[in-house]
Symmetry: C2
Subunit: 197 residues, 2 copies
DNA sequence: CATGTGTTGGACGGAACAGTACAGAATGGG
DNA sequence: CCCATTCTGTACTGTTCCGTCCAACACATG
């Protein structure tokens, strides 16, 4: 204890994010957060305001960490919209395959529990999905896909990415998730270059 | 009060199902169930054993009600696998559009909270997804789709159906959900009759 | 070295939770 | 008509939860 913080705030947010991600909002208690971070209630409430405030930070953090990975994956295919979409879905599958983090997706979990969240958390989750769709749409447009098609495809890929996360929660195997992604990319290919000869 | 039940068990299960569906498992209290059904704790615990037992009944009920609708939709297109898949997704979208029931999907909600569920509830949810995939696979095979393709497509359509439910929780508009379904059906069409013309 | 400032962890309070116990009530079989 | 049986609502128990409070603490400043 001292006049200076005794812990790293970012680390605590990371640990809290993992816990919310794994157990959901309602079923994560502040005691649990305290155990995971090793922090007392004074530090937790003093720094984050409360459970809702901490959750907001966790969602933001999630968006930063994985948003960067999505951008990097898209950037790896600057000219090929189909490969870019495929790389995007690979990020999702890699995250699911990563044993260091839970299955599923913090945003997907939050979306299904949206009704029980505070209003500001609700808008934050909603915005996370919008950002994903916009990220994809912009990537498609930048790779020459027409506006309307880009919007449709972006939304479709967001939907598929969320379904991969959801099914992974239920124990669907990676092999099956990859099959779903392949089928989805088939749809994207077709949409971008319709078989009109 | 009497030697005979004073309430209709199926009605109580229906009402509980809606409540779990809307609020999730962890955030639904037995007091809430009591308020919704108008029943006291004695009736609730005497009939269903407890919260977990009631949730199992709710999941089963959900599977019966909507399983019947899926079967009916598929049966409407006994020869056309693509139209059958499309009709399947229409059932999901119609349910989302139905103002009498919550958005989303009880199974999708449960899947993202699987870690906090009792083991028997977990297997029940897992099975609900398997049943969906098998329902679709059998329908595809019966309409002439080859075994491997049928398995892949069935899983893909289940994934898309779950994503529609999830996104609807987050407030995605029906118009957008329909667009996602259209794109998905495009993938199915392509997969069944590849453009090898 | 003294003092003030901001941090920390644990104790605390009020509320909500799941599940149990029990007394009261109504049916139906004898 | 009476009693055993079953259902029903409420009171209750022990736990868990979120958020507040506070005394102890160590650093920075003068």
């Amino acid at each position: 204890m001292s006049g200076r913080k005794q812990f790293d705030v970012d680390t605590a947010v990371d640990q809290s994010m993992i816990t919310f991600w794994r157990r959901g909002y309602a079923d994560t208690s502040m005691d649990m957060i305290g155990a995971v971070t090793g922090l007392g209630r004074g530090s937790l409430y003093g720094t984050f305001g409360g459970k809702n405030g901490l959750f907001l930070r966790a969602v933001d953090r999630y968006g930063e960490v994985y948003g960067a990975r999505y951008d990097a994956a898209l950037a790896r295919h600057p000219a090929d919209p189909v490969r870019a979409m495929s790389a995007f879905l690979d990020v999702v599958i890699d995250r699911i395959a990563d044993p260091h983090v839970p299955d599923g997706c913090l945003v997907a979990m939050a979306a299904t529990q949206l009704g029980t969240l505070e209003p500001d958390a609700r808008t934050r989750v909603r915005r996370a999905l919008d950002i994903q769709a916009e990220r994809l749409r912009a990537a498609l447009v930048a790779r020459g896909v027409a506006g309307r098609a880009a919007t449709d495809i972006a939304l479709f890929v967001v939907a598929v990415s969320q379904s991969l996360s959801l099914l992974s929660c239920a124990g669907t195997e990676l092999r099956e998730l990859r099959s779903i992604a392949r089928t989805a990319i088939g749809a994207v290919t077709q949409q971008i270059a319709p078989p009109t000869g």
